[in-house]
C-alpha cells in the first residue's frame, strides 16, 4: 500500500470512530429531549403531592409511588449497606488465598444476573411464605441487586487507603477492628458513599424485580407487609394503558425518575472527581 492510501485509511477509520461515538450518545439526547417535550407540561405541584386519579378524571399525581420507592430503597439499603460494606472491606483487607477471589468473582457474576431473576428469588423466599405481595419483598429484591455493586466499590475504595495510615494505627497499639473503623473506613468514606449512591440510582429505576414482589398499589403506604406502589411500576402501568391522560402521567413520571437518577449519578461523580485523578 502506498503511504497516501494508508493515510487515507487512517483518516477514514478515525472519522468512523468519531461518528460512532456521536451515534452512541444521540439516543440519550433524543430520549431526554422527548421526556422534557412530553412530560414537562404534566409535572406540577399536584403531581408530587396527590394520589393517582381514576380513569377519566384528569390531574392527580404519583406521590404514593414516590413515597413507595423511597420506602423500598430504604429497606434495601438497610440490608445491602452492612453486607456490602463489610464484605468489601473483607475483599480488600483479607490475605486468604481463595475466598476473596471466589466472592469477587461471584459478585461480578451476580451483577450481571437479570434483575427479574432477583424478583423471582425474592418471590420464593418472601412472597410465598408470607402469602402476600409486600414492601418487604420488593425491598429485599432491590437489596440483592445493590449488594454486589456496593461490595465492589467499597473494595476498590478501601484498597486506595495508603498502608502508612494503617501502620500508624497499629503503631499506637490499636487493634485491627479499631484501625478499620476509625482509620480505614473514614479515609475511604467519600468513595464508599459514592458507591452507595450509584447503587441507589441503579435500583431506583428498577421495575422488573418489583412486578411480583411489591406489586404496586394505588394508595398510600399501608404497612411493610402490604403491596406498595413504586415510581417505575407506576410509569409502566401508565405507559401500557390505553388512555392519553395516563400516557402524559407516564412521561411526567419518567421525567421525574430520570432527573432523580441523573442528579444522584452526577453528585456521585463529582464527589469522587479528585479520587479518580489520584489513581
Amino acid at each position: 500500500m502506498t503511504p497516501t492510501a494508508r493515510r487515507r485509511i487512517d483518516q477514514a477509520v478515525s472519522s468512523l470512530a468519531a461518528l460512532s461515538a456521536m451515534v452512541v450518545i444521540a439516543p440519550l439526547l433524543m430520549i431526554f429531549g422527548f421526556l422534557i417535550y412530553q412530560g414537562a407540561s404534566a409535572v406540577n405541584v399536584d403531581f408530587f403531592i396527590h394520589l393517582p386519579k381514576p380513569v377519566g378524571e384528569t390531574g392527580g399525581g404519583v406521590a404514593n409511588a414516590i413515597v413507595g420507592s423511597l420506602i423500598m430503597i430504604g429497606l434495601a439499603a438497610c440490608v445491602a449497606l452492612p453486607v456490602g460494606i463489610l464484605g468489601g472491606v473483607y475483599l480488600a483487607e483479607s490475605r486468604e488465598p481463595r475466598l476473596p477471589w471466589v466472592v469477587r468473582f461471584l459478585a461480578d457474576v451476580l451483577n450481571g444476573v437479570p434483575s427479574i431473576v432477583f424478583g423471582i428469588f425474592a418471590y420464593t423466599v418472601v412472597v410465598l411464605p408470607m402469602r402476600r405481595f409486600s414492601a418487604f419483598a420488593g425491598g429485599l429484591a432491590l437489596a440483592f441487586i445493590m449488594v454486589p455493586i456496593i461490595l465492589r466499590t467499597t473494595e476498590e475504595m478501601v484498597r486506595l487507603v495508603p498502608n502508612a495510615l494503617r501502620e500508624a494505627g497499629f503503631g499506637i497499639g490499636l487493634p485491627q477492628w479499631k484501625v478499620t473503623l476509625h482509620v480505614v473506613l473514614p479515609t475511604a468514606r467519600a468513595g464508599i458513599i459514592t458507591g452507595v449512591i450509584v447503587a441507589i440510582a441503579r435500583v431506583a429505576g428498577e421495575t422488573a424485580p418489583l412486578l411480583f414482589t411489591a406489586l404496586g398499589n394505588r394508595f398510600w403506604h399501608q404497612g411493610f407487609d402490604q403491596p406498595i406502589a413504586a415510581l417505575p411500576l407506576q410509569i409502566y402501568a401508565y405507559a401500557i394503558a390505553p388512555y392519553d391522560d395516563w400516557h402524559r402521567q407516564a412521561w411526567a413520571g419518567a421525567l421525574v425518575l430520570i432527573t432523580l437518577v441523573f442528579v444522584t449519578s452526577l453528585a456521585a461523580r463529582l464527589a469522587t472527581r479528585g479520587r479518580t485523578v489520584a489513581r
Binding site: 487512517d10 478515525s14 470512530a17 461518528l19 460512532s20 461515538a21 451515534v23 452512541v24 450518545i25 433524543m30 430520549i31 412530553q38 453486607v83 463489610l86 464484605g87 472491606v89 480488600a92 483487607e93 483479607s94 475466598l99 471466589v102 469477587r104 461480578d108 457474576v109 451476580l110 450481571g112 444476573v113 437479570p114 434483575s115 427479574i116 431473576v117 428469588f121 420464593t124 423466599v125 410465598l128 455493586i149 461490595l151 465492589r152 484498597r159 487507603v161 495508603p162 498502608n163 494503617r166 497499639g173 485491627q176 477492628w177 458507591g195 450509584v198 429505576g205 421495575t207 422488573a208 412486578l211 409502566y236 405507559a239 401500557i240 400516557h247 412521561w251 437518577v261 461523580r269 489513581r279
Partner: protein, 331 residues
Amino acid sequence: MARSVTLVEGASGRAWRPPAATRGRVGRIGDPLFRALLKGSAWLVILLAIGLVIALAWESSGAVRAFGLRFIVTSTWDPVAGDFGALPFIYGTLVSSLLALLLAVPLSLGAAIYLAELAPAWVRPPVAFLIEMLAAVPSVVYGLWGIFVLVPWLRDWVQPSLGRWLGFLPLFSGPAYGVGMLAAGLILSIMVVPYITSVAREVLLAVPNAQREAALGLGATRWEAIRIAVLRYGRSGLIGAVLLGLGRALGETMAVTMVIGNRPAIAASLFAPGYTMASVVANEFTEATSDLYVAALVEVGLLLLVVTIVVNALARLLVWSVGGPAAGARE
C-alpha cells in the same frame, strides 16, 4: 473510570494482622470477632448466589419433572391445558439479543476506540460521562420511549421502506406492526451500547503504552498501531466486553416487554411480534394460577439465570485477563 491500578502494593497482605506484641487486650477478643463479621458478610454473597440457584431449581421442580427436556424444544404454551414449552421465548431472547449485538458491537467498539485512542483530551470526559448516563437510564424509560417514538417511527417509515426494497427476504416480509423483533433488537442495542463501550474502553486503556509506541516507532499509522498492537493485545478483554453486553441483552426485561409484541410464536420475519424469556416472566407471573404454571415460569427464569451466569462468568474471566480484577468492576 480511570485505569484501576492498586495504589498500595500488598495492601491485601501485610497490613492484615499487626505483630502480636502491639495488640492490646481488646484486640484479642475484638479482632477475631471483627474478622468473623467481615468474613460472614463475604459468605453472605456466596450464600446469595447459591440460594438463588437452589430456590429457583426448587420452585421449578414441578415443571422440570412434568416436561423434562421437552420444555426447551417444544413451542406450545397453553396455560389452560397445562402444557408448557419454552422454545418461542428462548428463540425470541436469542434473536433479539443477537440482533442487538449486531447493531451495537461495531458502534461500541468504534466509540471505545475513539474515546481511548483518538479523541482529544478535552472531549473524553464529557463523552464518557454521557455514555455512563445512557447506562443509568432506567429500562422502563427506554420502554416508554420505545412505545411512543421508536415503534411509530418503525411502523410508518422504516418497515415500509425496508419491505419495499428488501421484502423478497423472509427477514423483512409481512405487515408492519411497529412492535416486534426489530423494535426489540433496536431498543436493546441502544441499551447495551453503553455497557460494551465503557468496558471496552477500560480494556483499551489497560493496554500498555509500549505496545502503541513500538508499532508507531515501526512507522505504523495511528489506525495500524491500534489494529496491530492495541486491539490484538486486548482481544480477549474486548470479547469479554461484548459478552457482558450479551448478558445484559439476554436478561433485559421491561423495555423489551413493552415493544416486542408479546406473542409466543416463532416467525422468520423481524417485523413479526415475538416474546422473550424475561418478558413472559414479567407479564404472566402474577396471573399464573396453577402451581404448574408458576413452576414453568420459574423454570424459564432458571434457564435465564443459568445462561446469564455462564455468559457473565466467561466475560469476567476474559476482561480480568486483560485489565485485572478491577476492570469493569462497576459496570
